[in-house]
Symmetry: D3
Subunit: 81 residues, 6 copies
Amino acid sequence: MPYVNIKVTGGAEAPTTAQKAELIQGVTDLLARVLGKNPATTVVIIDEVPMDNWGIGGATVTSRRQQSGAGAARPADPESR
Amino acid sequence: MPYVNIKVTGGAEAPTTAQKAELIQGVTDLLARVLGKNPATTVVIIDEVPMDNWGIGGATVTSRRQQSGAGAARPADPESR
Amino acid sequence: MPYVNIKVTGGAEAPTTAQKAELIQGVTDLLARVLGKNPATTVVIIDEVPMDNWGIGGATVTSRRQQSGAGAARPADPESR
Amino acid sequence: MPYVNIKVTGGAEAPTTAQKAELIQGVTDLLARVLGKNPATTVVIIDEVPMDNWGIGGATVTSRRQQSGAGAARPADPESR
Amino acid sequence: MPYVNIKVTGGAEAPTTAQKAELIQGVTDLLARVLGKNPATTVVIIDEVPMDNWGIGGATVTSRRQQSGAGAARPADPESR
Amino acid sequence: MPYVNIKVTGGAEAPTTAQKAELIQGVTDLLARVLGKNPATTVVIIDEVPMDNWGIGGATVTSRRQQSGAGAARPADPESR
């Protein structure tokens, strides 16, 4: 009976139909294996978020992709409070 | 002041504008009737999820709809842990 | 197969067990009636949010309840952009 | 490491790319300033919700916008339980 | 950079600390394997929902567990629209 | 009318009541300033997530905090796909 929501970047980075099916199967199997949850009622919803609408490090993914395409420096430490 | 999020399948199964209005009115009334919540500040958001992005039973709704259109057997027991 | 999430204030305002059951039944019936959704696989999750953690009008519900208990003026217009 | 989700109306009211970048920067800064959270791992996701899919006061935003464009009365008190 | 939210029943059915760690590792690995996502910035949040607050089939999980403990019939078909 | 959900780690890292009020005020002001949204109907919900239930980099925050308290190396690059 678990409910799982997976958010990934969409647009040029959107998963294919086959990849989405594989994610759904994989996370459903994981919940059955680790917690004994019934696959028949495990619900998985995948959201594809436009890169302009996803921010990390205070900037949109769109601008981060542009910077890294241009060889710009990337932040050095992912550790956070 | 409640907040309600309703997720349903979109695409060919998407609710019409009138159905969305009816859901919003219905759930707002329900919260007023059961909990005495003020309709003026009850927020309802409906998400229409593509059938390739919604999984149940380890498969996408797209593939389940294809199987049941083809007369394939359906899982027999919805009970889950 | 719909998924519904209802958030209401908890603590002193938390719904009773009977009210939660009534909300679950009510919203499940609504989705069956309006959209023909199968109740057997309609999932409803209720979150009870502490009043210190819920903000509206730029203030926590806790502080709004204190103000209105004290007879303070309330904002006059719920309309928003 | 915080995760923030911001939902606003889309369509004709959708934020521009520059406004989305400003929201992401602003909320990331806020979490750093108030809670000392690391901007490098603060995630912000903005959802643009169609006006037919957003309800408040028991009606869709679409119908509320039409009413207020027509000079109709608006509800007078935003206070809610 | 994916964000994953997993909701499971809590209370007597809550996952252990070790099971939660295994879910987090498993879903992070899945996203790396299927989509090539970077584990360093994959975020997973697990919510444990009280059984009175989780509804399926129009009833709370609490009441469903009581019925099945008492040998009551269970619904026969998980298929839904 | 925006809806904002902020998730941060709870337990020993939980924000104080004053910090939660400051976050609510800050994000409400941000939405008014950037998008002209009405503060009166801006809703903000803060979730405090137990550190065992929050994963990043494939591990729970609990275990990451233990490692960094022990001087263990931290991952070097937050960039992700």
